[in-house]
Every structure is written in structure tokens, then in C-alpha cells.
């Protein structure tokens, strides 16, 4: 090989690498919009919060409201249900995390951490089974709480998973009391 060819080869290598690099960056830049367009659109994200009046819910009754396309279960628990929920030893639970958006991350799954202090009779939680998303049925299952008919998950009176394929407790959405009997979800 003559020395005169060397600069040419360097030039070619440079062009190869430069073209490849521009191509790779371009392809990555193109992939972002193509993939991200499938994420929730601005109108879906803008879905407002909802307000719910708790006063018509009698003790032992539940209501279901729709929030962001999903059901939220609000239950006015009986004294017996609250007692049962409190009696459980957290160490015995499959999921020991409270899964409550209103308490610090990683709080223990005690019944206290699943409801609001002073309002322990009202349990507010997503009606979305943490297994594959069915709506659990109230007053059913082996733990007096909810039973998911899809693949047989049992939740207790605090909405904590006790048995079945679901890995986590029913999540408690972000909510706050606007007045004594009114909450705002979201």
C-alpha cells in the first residue's frame, strides 16, 4: 500500500463514523415522538379531580365513583370491620406497604395508615385489583372485605391483599377532606 493512500482512508473512516453517528442520533430523535405519542394525551391528563359527599353512605354501605376512568370504592365500615382490620399483625401480610398516596412512602400497612385519623370508618381505595385490574366485589371473600372474581384474590376490610395472585394492597388515591363529610379525590 502506498503512503499516498493513507490520508484517503482516514477521510473515509471519518465519513463512515460521522454518518453513522448522525444516523443513530437521528433515529433516536425520531423514535421519541413515535413512541411517546401513545402516552396519555394532554386531555386525558387534564381530567379534573372529583368531589364526593360521604353523608348519604350508611354504615355498612359502599359506593363506587368513577375517577380517571377507574372505579374508586368508598366504604363506610362497621365497627366490627374496623376491629378486624386493626387486629391483623402487619408482619403476617403479603404486602406490608400501606400503598396510600396520602402517607409517607413505605409506611407500614396498618389500618391506621390506610385511612384518615378520626375518620377511620371511611375507607377510600381504588376498585382496581392489583393483579390484573378487575373490580373486586364487596362483602365477599374469606376476609370479609373484597373478593376479585377474575382470578380469586381476597382483600380484607382494610383493602389489604390476604390471599390469591394479587401482589399489592388496593391503592388509596390522593384525597382530602374538604369538610366533615366531603372529600376531594385527586
Amino acid at each position: 500500500m502506498s503512503t499516498a493512500e493513507a490520508p484517503d482512508e482516514d477521510r473515509r473512516d471519518f465519513l463512515y463514523i460521522a454518518t453513522g453517528a448522525v444516523g443513530a442520533v437521528g433515529a433516536a430523535a425520531l423514535a421519541v415522538p413515535l413512541i411517546d405519542q401513545m402516552n396519555p394525551s394532554a386531555s386525558v391528563l387534564a381530567l379534573a379531580s372529583i368531589e364526593v359527599d360521604l353523608s348519604p353512605i350508611e354504615e355498612g354501605q359502599s359506593i363506587t365513583v368513577k375517577w380517571r376512568g377507574n372505579p374508586v370504592i368508598i366504604r363506610h365500615r362497621t365497627a366490627k370491620e374496623i376491629e378486624e382490620a386493626k387486629a391483623v399483625n402487619v408482619a403476617d401480610l403479603p404486602d406490608q406497604d400501606a400503598r396510600n398516596a396520602n402517607v409517607a412512602d413505605g409506611s407500614a400497612a396498618t389500618d391506621e395508615n390506610r385511612v384518615v385519623d378520626g375518620k377511620t370508618q371511611y375507607l377510600v381505595q381504588m376498585g382496581v385489583c392489583t393483579h390484573l385490574g378487575c373490580v373486586p366485589i364487596g362483602n365477599e371473600g374469606e376476609y370479609d372485605g373484597w373478593f376479585c372474581p377474575c382470578h380469586g384474590s381476597h382483600y380484607d376490610t382494610s383493602g389489604r391483599i390476604r390471599k390469591g395472585p394479587a401482589p399489592e394492597n388496593l391503592p388509596v388515591p390522593e384525597y382530602q377532606y374538604l369538610s366533615d363529610t366531603k372529600i376531594k379525590i385527586g
Partner: protein
Amino acid sequence: MSGHSTYNPTNPVMKWLDDRLPLPRLMYDSFVSYPVPRNLNYWYTFGGILMIMMVSQIITGIILVMHYTPHVDMAFDSVEHIRRNVNFGNVLQKWHAVGASFFFIAVYIHIARGMYYGSYKAPREILWMLGVAIFLVMMATGFMGYVLPWGQMSFWGAKVITNLFSAVPFFGEAIVTWLWGGFSVDNATLQRFFSLHYLLPFVLVGVVILHVWALHVTGQGNPTGVEVKSGQDTIAFTPFATVKDAFALSVFFIVFTAFVFYAPDYLGHSINYEEANPLVTPEHIVPEWYYLPFYAILRAVPDKLLGVVAMFGSIMIWFILPWLDTSKVRSAAYRPIFKQLFWLLMIDFFILGVVGANPPEGWWITVGQIATVYYFAHFLILLPLVGLLETPRPLPSSISDAVLAKNASKQPAAQPAE
């Protein structure tokens, strides 16, 4: 069996075309003069039946889209509109819906044929793996199509199946939100499923072309599992195989159309005639019958992630089947123990289907778990072992020998009279 071409156009126009774009030659060599083993039985007609079913789904599907509206407020009513108001709409809609079921009946028979005759063995591994890919595309297409009428089962089936991806560690939640385009299955989900349900059948056509290409490179297998050795072992595709395929197709269509006209809802779920309601899960959600065995495997495992892994694994395992089966003999006809295992697997698969259709309670759970364990044991333990331990029966020296021996044993009395 790509021998040299025997296409010899006499028409000058065809000659002119052949010199420029030899498409008629390709068709002639692939579907007319193409040599196939002379001993193919009716189990080998299902590939052709599948082709016709695919075309049938595409034609009826394109027609349905002319009248269907992919929006949560209108989808359900638009399918009712097709059934009640569109000219011949009730037939066309049922043809497509029942057609999906019969497409799957044909594909299950086709796959079982492959497993029985060891069609997946060298040199047909790629052919087999393309078939598994076809099956996966069919499953995805059928699933998304089922969502379109937006009934209760459509909605909850979609929710449960897309939620399978939430089992992925770390990114699960983000993936599901991305798939849905929201926080639940909703209008964004319906519209993208509609788009993909239109696209995937054409992807299917592409993979099927590769499948047939691979078939024509290795040549067709046959019930003896002995490769073609001479011209004596083969007959021309047309007219012999064409006629056999056409006859089988006619019988298949008689059964298929009987369902379309007399029992269009038999294979479906009546709850899907109730419009989707995101706040109420039906008492008992079950997927369409053709997903049931895999659904049973999902539910047999009490852990979310492992259940999903087992379910996908139960199909993925087919990809490595050519290497799991250690026997040199292809056909179950010459493998006495393997033959019994094959039928046990069929029974096991059927039991899984029954379990999948029943609620996950009581002893159904136990039955499902035993059947799941057996399913995986068949592929991962029994198949490799049997190949090493079993003594196969002697193979015929050629396909024509096998055919002649069979014919001789059929008319023993005829011989002395000659």
C-alpha cells in the same frame, strides 16, 4: 425441493413476460408442478385451509370497517348497526366473528399435526418457528379484534390482558399506561387497537409468505417422516394435492358455515352483548375459547410475575421444540412411546382449556396446577428423555415402499386370484 423449472410458456405474450418478470413461472413452479410426497393425508390439508381463512378474515374485515366506528360511545352501536341495518351485514359480521374461531380450530389442528409427525425437525426448524410466530400474531390480532365491539367481555378482557404487562419489574406501570394511553382502558385504547387490528393481518400475510417460502426450500414432510428419495415418491401438486385440499376445504366450510348460519353465538359469550361498563366486572370473565389453555396456565401460578412468565413461556417453548425432541425419527407412527405422550399432551391441553373456562375456585385450581406442571414436564423432561430411551419401529426404506406395503396389506385376497 427447488429442482429446475419445467415451466415452458408457448403463448408469446407469456414468453415475453417470463423474460422480464417471471411471476407466472414462480406460480407454476410453486403451485402446479411443485412435487409433494404421494402419501400426504388429510391432516396435511390444513395449511391450505388456513390460507383461505386468512383471506376470508381480511375480506370480511375490510367490509366491516366500512360500517364500524372506533369510538367508545359508538363502537357497540355500530356493530349492532352492522347486524341489523347493513345489507347482508348480519352474515358478514358473523362470518368474521365465527371465522376467527374456525381460523383457530384450523391452526390448532395444523400445529398438532406438526407435533405428531415431528414436522419441526431438521431441516424444517425455521419453517416451524415461523409458524409459531404466525400463531403469536394471530393471537394478538384476535385479541384486539375482540375488543372492537366494545362489549363487557371486550372491555374486561382487554383490561386483564394488557395488565399482564404490569408484572414487568420496574417499568410495568409505565408500560401499561403507555399501552392504554390513559389510566384505564378507554377511548385511546380502543382507537389504537383498531389501528393495529387492521395492520396485523397484513403482517400475518408477510410472515405466511416466508413460511411458504421456507416450506418450498425444504420440501414438504409426510406421515412416514422419511424424506423424498426419488421422483417415485412424489406427485405433482396440481391436480393431486390441489383437489385433496379443495375437498377438505369444502368439508371444513360446510361445518364453518353451519355455525355462521345456525349457531353464530355458540362459540362466543352472551355477556358481550352488554355494552362495556368500566365500573362493573362481569361475574366471570373468560377469554375466547382459543385462549383458554394459556389462561389456565396464567391462573395456575399464584404469583403475578411468574404466572405471566409461565403463560408466555408455554408458547415460547415451542420455539425450541426442534432441539428439545432428541429423537432422530420424525413421525410418531414409528415411535410407540412418543405417540402415547403426544395423546397425553392433547388430553392435558384439553383439560387446561376446561380449567380456563371455569372459575378459579376449589379443586379447579389443583387440576389446573397439575395440568400446567405436566405441560411443561412434557416438553422439558419427557421429550428429551424419550428420544434417548425409546426404541423406534423400523422405518420404511422409502415413501413408495411404505405406500406399496400399505396397499398390499389392504387387499391380501386380491393377490392369489391373479
